[in-house]
Amino acid sequence: MTLFFEDFPPGETAEYGDRIVSREEIIAFAARYDPQPMHLDETAAAKTLLGGLAASGWHTACLLMRMNADQMLRDSTSMGAPGIDELKWLRPVHPGDRLRVRRATLEARPSNSRPEMGLVSFLFEVLNQRGETVMTQRNTIMFGRRNGETG
Protein backbone atom coordinates (compact mmCIF):
# COMPACT_ATOMS: atom_id res chain seq x y z
CA MET A 1 0.00 0.00 0.00
CA THR A 2 1.48 3.30 -1.08
CA LEU A 3 1.86 5.67 1.85
CA PHE A 4 0.72 9.29 1.55
CA PHE A 5 1.05 12.38 3.75
CA GLU A 6 -2.29 11.46 5.34
CA ASP A 7 -0.88 8.12 6.56
CA PHE A 8 1.37 9.79 9.16
CA PRO A 9 -0.88 11.23 11.87
CA PRO A 10 0.89 13.21 14.62
CA GLY A 11 1.29 11.27 17.85
CA GLU A 12 1.60 7.90 16.13
CA THR A 13 4.55 5.68 17.04
CA ALA A 14 5.97 2.63 15.28
CA GLU A 15 8.82 0.14 15.80
CA TYR A 16 10.51 -1.74 12.98
CA GLY A 17 13.77 -2.97 11.59
CA ASP A 18 16.08 -5.76 12.67
CA ARG A 19 19.62 -5.22 11.48
CA ILE A 20 22.73 -6.99 12.76
CA VAL A 21 25.83 -4.93 12.01
CA SER A 22 28.90 -6.96 11.03
CA ARG A 23 32.56 -6.16 11.66
CA GLU A 24 33.21 -6.45 7.92
CA GLU A 25 30.62 -3.85 6.94
CA ILE A 26 31.78 -1.45 9.70
CA ILE A 27 35.31 -1.59 8.32
CA ALA A 28 34.19 -1.44 4.67
CA PHE A 29 32.03 1.66 5.22
CA ALA A 30 34.73 3.39 7.26
CA ALA A 31 37.49 2.57 4.79
CA ARG A 32 35.50 4.36 2.13
CA TYR A 33 33.99 7.33 3.98
CA ASP A 34 35.45 7.69 7.49
CA PRO A 35 38.89 6.04 7.70
CA GLN A 36 39.71 6.77 11.34
CA PRO A 37 41.38 4.16 13.62
CA MET A 38 38.33 3.67 15.89
CA HIS A 39 36.32 2.49 12.88
CA LEU A 40 39.03 0.36 11.22
CA ASP A 41 41.24 -1.42 13.73
CA GLU A 42 40.37 -3.18 17.02
CA THR A 43 43.70 -2.48 18.72
CA ALA A 44 43.73 1.20 17.86
CA ALA A 45 40.01 1.51 18.65
CA ALA A 46 40.50 0.10 22.17
CA LYS A 47 42.56 3.19 23.05
CA THR A 48 39.92 5.70 21.89
CA LEU A 49 36.91 7.20 23.68
CA LEU A 50 34.70 4.60 21.96
CA GLY A 51 36.44 1.73 23.80
CA GLY A 52 36.60 -0.69 20.86
CA LEU A 53 35.87 -1.01 17.16
CA ALA A 54 32.73 1.03 16.44
CA ALA A 55 30.75 1.98 13.35
CA SER A 56 31.20 5.44 11.85
CA GLY A 57 28.31 7.60 12.97
CA TRP A 58 27.63 8.26 9.29
CA HIS A 59 27.27 4.50 8.84
CA THR A 60 24.69 4.37 11.66
CA ALA A 61 22.82 7.22 9.97
CA CYS A 62 22.87 5.22 6.71
CA LEU A 63 21.57 2.11 8.52
CA LEU A 64 18.63 4.17 9.83
CA MET A 65 18.08 5.54 6.33
CA ARG A 66 17.90 2.02 4.91
CA MET A 67 15.50 0.79 7.60
CA ASN A 68 13.29 3.83 6.97
CA ALA A 69 13.46 3.33 3.20
CA ASP A 70 12.38 -0.29 3.53
CA GLN A 71 9.60 0.35 6.06
CA MET A 72 8.05 3.64 5.00
CA LEU A 73 9.61 5.28 1.92
CA ARG A 74 10.12 2.86 -0.97
CA ASP A 75 6.41 2.38 -1.42
CA SER A 76 5.34 5.92 -0.64
CA THR A 77 4.92 9.33 -2.18
CA SER A 78 8.15 10.53 -0.49
CA MET A 79 9.62 13.54 -2.24
CA GLY A 80 12.79 13.55 -0.15
CA ALA A 81 13.87 15.53 2.90
CA PRO A 82 15.06 19.15 3.11
CA GLY A 83 17.58 18.21 5.79
CA ILE A 84 18.10 16.94 9.33
CA ASP A 85 17.17 19.25 12.21
CA GLU A 86 19.27 17.38 14.75
CA LEU A 87 21.16 14.11 15.00
CA LYS A 88 22.83 12.75 18.16
CA TRP A 89 25.29 9.89 18.36
CA LEU A 90 24.68 8.72 21.94
CA ARG A 91 26.43 5.32 22.14
CA PRO A 92 28.88 3.41 19.96
CA VAL A 93 27.62 0.70 17.60
CA HIS A 94 29.93 -2.32 17.91
CA PRO A 95 30.25 -5.41 15.68
CA GLY A 96 27.36 -7.82 16.28
CA ASP A 97 25.00 -5.14 17.59
CA ARG A 98 21.40 -5.64 16.52
CA LEU A 99 19.58 -2.40 15.64
CA ARG A 100 15.95 -1.43 15.29
CA VAL A 101 14.02 1.84 14.93
CA ARG A 102 11.43 3.55 17.10
CA ARG A 103 9.61 6.33 15.23
CA ALA A 104 7.36 9.04 16.61
CA THR A 105 5.41 11.35 14.30
CA LEU A 106 5.73 14.84 15.76
CA GLU A 107 3.88 17.08 13.33
CA ALA A 108 2.18 16.95 9.94
CA ARG A 109 1.17 19.98 7.93
CA PRO A 110 0.19 20.63 4.31
CA SER A 111 2.63 22.77 2.34
CA ASN A 112 1.45 26.34 1.85
CA SER A 113 3.38 26.83 -1.37
CA ARG A 114 2.80 23.38 -2.88
CA PRO A 115 -0.70 22.09 -2.17
CA GLU A 116 0.09 18.67 -3.67
CA MET A 117 2.60 18.05 -0.87
CA GLY A 118 2.71 17.82 2.92
CA LEU A 119 5.53 17.97 5.46
CA VAL A 120 5.83 15.39 8.24
CA SER A 121 8.27 15.77 11.14
CA PHE A 122 9.59 12.65 12.83
CA LEU A 123 11.79 11.69 15.74
CA PHE A 124 13.68 8.47 15.01
CA GLU A 125 15.49 6.54 17.73
CA VAL A 126 17.92 3.76 16.82
CA LEU A 127 17.94 1.13 19.58
CA ASN A 128 20.40 -1.73 20.13
CA GLN A 129 19.74 -5.27 21.41
CA ARG A 130 19.86 -4.03 25.03
CA GLY A 131 17.18 -1.43 24.34
CA GLU A 132 19.73 1.40 24.60
CA THR A 133 19.32 4.37 22.30
CA VAL A 134 22.46 4.64 20.16
CA MET A 135 21.30 7.50 17.91
CA THR A 136 18.42 9.94 17.58
CA GLN A 137 17.43 11.92 14.50
CA ARG A 138 14.80 14.60 14.09
CA ASN A 139 13.80 15.63 10.58
CA THR A 140 11.04 16.45 8.14
CA ILE A 141 10.11 14.36 5.10
CA MET A 142 7.98 15.64 2.19
CA PHE A 143 5.14 13.39 1.03
CA GLY A 144 2.58 13.70 -1.74
CA ARG A 145 -1.02 14.14 -0.59
CA ARG A 146 -3.65 11.54 -1.32
CA ASN A 147 -5.76 13.85 -3.43
CA GLY A 148 -2.91 15.89 -4.86
CA GLU A 149 -0.78 15.48 -7.93
CA THR A 150 2.23 13.37 -7.03
CA GLY A 151 5.53 12.38 -8.51
Binding site: A69, S78, M79, A81, D85, G151
Partner: protein, 157 residues
Amino acid sequence: MFLEDFIPGDRVMLGSHTFTAEEIIAFAGTHDPQPFHIDPEAARRSHFGGLVASGWHTAAIWMRLNVAYMGHVARARLASGESMGRMGPSPGFRDMKWTKPVHAGDTLAYGVEIVEARASASRPGWGVLTHRAFATNQKGEEVFSFIGTVMVERRPD
Protein backbone atom coordinates in the same frame (compact mmCIF):
# COMPACT_ATOMS: atom_id res chain seq x y z
CA MET B 1 47.19 20.38 16.62
CA PHE B 2 44.94 20.79 19.65
CA LEU B 3 41.64 22.43 20.52
CA GLU B 4 43.44 25.73 21.08
CA ASP B 5 44.71 25.74 17.48
CA PHE B 6 41.22 25.98 15.97
CA ILE B 7 40.30 29.64 15.59
CA PRO B 8 36.66 30.66 15.05
CA GLY B 9 36.27 32.09 11.56
CA ASP B 10 39.05 29.98 10.06
CA ARG B 11 37.88 28.38 6.82
CA VAL B 12 39.49 25.71 4.65
CA MET B 13 38.50 24.03 1.41
CA LEU B 14 38.76 20.25 1.67
CA GLY B 15 38.62 19.25 -1.98
CA SER B 16 36.01 18.44 -4.59
CA HIS B 17 34.09 15.43 -5.83
CA THR B 18 32.12 14.64 -9.00
CA PHE B 19 29.00 12.52 -8.52
CA THR B 20 28.59 10.07 -11.39
CA ALA B 21 25.28 8.34 -12.06
CA GLU B 22 26.91 4.98 -11.39
CA GLU B 23 28.18 6.08 -7.99
CA ILE B 24 24.85 7.71 -7.02
CA ILE B 25 23.00 4.48 -7.86
CA ALA B 26 25.54 2.27 -6.06
CA PHE B 27 25.45 4.31 -2.83
CA ALA B 28 21.67 4.59 -2.79
CA GLY B 29 21.20 0.94 -3.73
CA THR B 30 22.82 0.03 -0.42
CA HIS B 31 21.79 2.88 1.86
CA ASP B 32 18.86 4.86 0.43
CA PRO B 33 16.97 2.93 -2.25
CA GLN B 34 14.34 5.50 -3.20
CA PRO B 35 13.34 5.69 -6.90
CA PHE B 36 14.85 9.16 -7.54
CA HIS B 37 18.26 7.88 -6.29
CA ILE B 38 18.40 4.49 -8.04
CA ASP B 39 16.20 4.56 -11.16
CA PRO B 40 17.08 7.13 -13.86
CA GLU B 41 13.69 6.79 -15.56
CA ALA B 42 11.66 7.15 -12.35
CA ALA B 43 13.93 10.05 -11.36
CA ARG B 44 13.22 11.80 -14.66
CA ARG B 45 9.47 11.63 -13.96
CA SER B 46 9.91 12.85 -10.34
CA HIS B 47 9.92 16.47 -9.18
CA PHE B 48 13.75 16.31 -9.30
CA GLY B 49 13.66 15.84 -13.09
CA GLY B 50 16.60 13.43 -13.03
CA LEU B 51 18.80 11.23 -10.90
CA VAL B 52 19.93 12.91 -7.65
CA ALA B 53 22.39 11.81 -4.98
CA SER B 54 21.18 10.65 -1.58
CA GLY B 55 21.74 13.42 0.95
CA TRP B 56 23.72 10.90 3.01
CA HIS B 57 25.98 10.34 0.03
CA THR B 58 26.66 14.10 -0.12
CA ALA B 59 27.39 14.01 3.63
CA ALA B 60 29.61 10.89 3.49
CA ILE B 61 31.84 12.51 0.85
CA TRP B 62 32.27 15.54 3.14
CA MET B 63 33.44 13.20 5.89
CA ARG B 64 35.86 11.41 3.58
CA LEU B 65 37.43 14.67 2.41
CA ASN B 66 37.54 16.02 5.97
CA VAL B 67 39.31 12.91 7.32
CA ALA B 68 41.79 13.04 4.43
CA TYR B 69 42.50 16.73 5.07
CA MET B 70 43.01 16.23 8.82
CA GLY B 71 45.30 13.26 8.10
CA HIS B 72 47.37 15.45 5.81
CA VAL B 73 47.62 18.15 8.51
CA ALA B 74 48.58 15.56 11.14
CA ARG B 75 51.32 14.01 9.01
CA ALA B 76 52.78 17.43 8.19
CA ARG B 77 52.87 18.44 11.85
CA LEU B 78 54.36 15.16 13.04
CA ALA B 79 57.01 15.38 10.29
CA SER B 80 58.06 18.80 11.56
CA GLY B 81 58.33 17.52 15.13
CA GLU B 82 55.10 19.02 16.42
CA SER B 83 52.60 17.02 18.44
CA MET B 84 49.05 16.26 17.40
CA GLY B 85 46.05 15.91 19.69
CA ARG B 86 43.52 13.15 19.28
CA MET B 87 40.16 13.88 17.63
CA GLY B 88 36.77 12.25 17.76
CA PRO B 89 34.19 11.01 18.32
CA SER B 90 31.40 13.44 17.46
CA PRO B 91 28.34 13.92 19.69
CA GLY B 92 26.25 14.81 16.64
CA PHE B 93 25.19 17.68 14.40
CA ARG B 94 22.31 20.03 13.77
CA ASP B 95 20.79 22.04 10.92
CA MET B 96 21.87 19.77 8.10
CA LYS B 97 20.45 21.33 4.94
CA TRP B 98 20.19 19.70 1.54
CA THR B 99 19.49 23.07 -0.01
CA LYS B 100 19.54 21.99 -3.65
CA PRO B 101 19.57 18.58 -5.30
CA VAL B 102 22.92 17.10 -6.33
CA HIS B 103 22.40 15.78 -9.85
CA ALA B 104 24.43 13.16 -11.69
CA GLY B 105 27.50 14.89 -13.15
CA ASP B 106 27.58 17.68 -10.55
CA THR B 107 30.95 18.56 -9.02
CA LEU B 108 30.87 19.79 -5.43
CA ALA B 109 33.58 21.80 -3.69
CA TYR B 110 33.60 20.98 0.01
CA GLY B 111 34.77 23.09 2.91
CA VAL B 112 34.59 23.67 6.65
CA GLU B 113 34.77 26.72 8.87
CA ILE B 114 35.37 26.88 12.62
CA VAL B 115 32.44 28.21 14.66
CA GLU B 116 33.53 27.65 18.26
CA ALA B 117 36.18 25.82 20.33
CA ARG B 118 35.40 25.34 24.02
CA ALA B 119 36.60 23.12 26.87
CA SER B 120 34.47 20.08 27.65
CA ALA B 121 32.62 20.32 30.95
CA SER B 122 32.45 16.55 31.39
CA ARG B 123 35.79 15.31 29.99
CA PRO B 124 38.96 16.83 31.44
CA GLY B 125 41.66 17.31 28.82
CA TRP B 126 39.15 17.45 25.98
CA GLY B 127 37.19 20.15 24.23
CA VAL B 128 34.25 20.40 21.85
CA LEU B 129 34.89 21.90 18.44
CA THR B 130 31.87 23.29 16.57
CA HIS B 131 32.21 23.73 12.83
CA ARG B 132 30.10 24.56 9.80
CA ALA B 133 30.47 22.14 6.92
CA PHE B 134 29.40 23.15 3.42
CA ALA B 135 29.48 22.22 -0.25
CA THR B 136 28.90 24.30 -3.37
CA ASN B 137 28.19 23.02 -6.88
CA GLN B 138 29.89 23.99 -10.15
CA LYS B 139 27.51 26.98 -10.48
CA GLY B 140 28.67 28.32 -7.13
CA GLU B 141 25.38 27.49 -5.39
CA GLU B 142 25.57 26.16 -1.86
CA VAL B 143 23.84 22.77 -1.93
CA PHE B 144 24.72 21.30 1.47
CA SER B 145 25.62 22.45 4.98
CA PHE B 146 25.48 21.44 8.62
CA ILE B 147 26.69 22.53 12.03
CA GLY B 148 28.81 19.70 13.45
CA THR B 149 30.63 19.03 16.69
CA VAL B 150 33.66 16.88 17.44
CA MET B 151 35.70 16.08 20.56
CA VAL B 152 39.29 17.41 20.32
CA GLU B 153 42.12 17.00 22.83
CA ARG B 154 43.28 20.18 24.60
CA ARG B 155 46.91 21.24 24.56
CA PRO B 156 48.67 19.68 27.58
CA ASP B 157 49.81 22.21 30.22
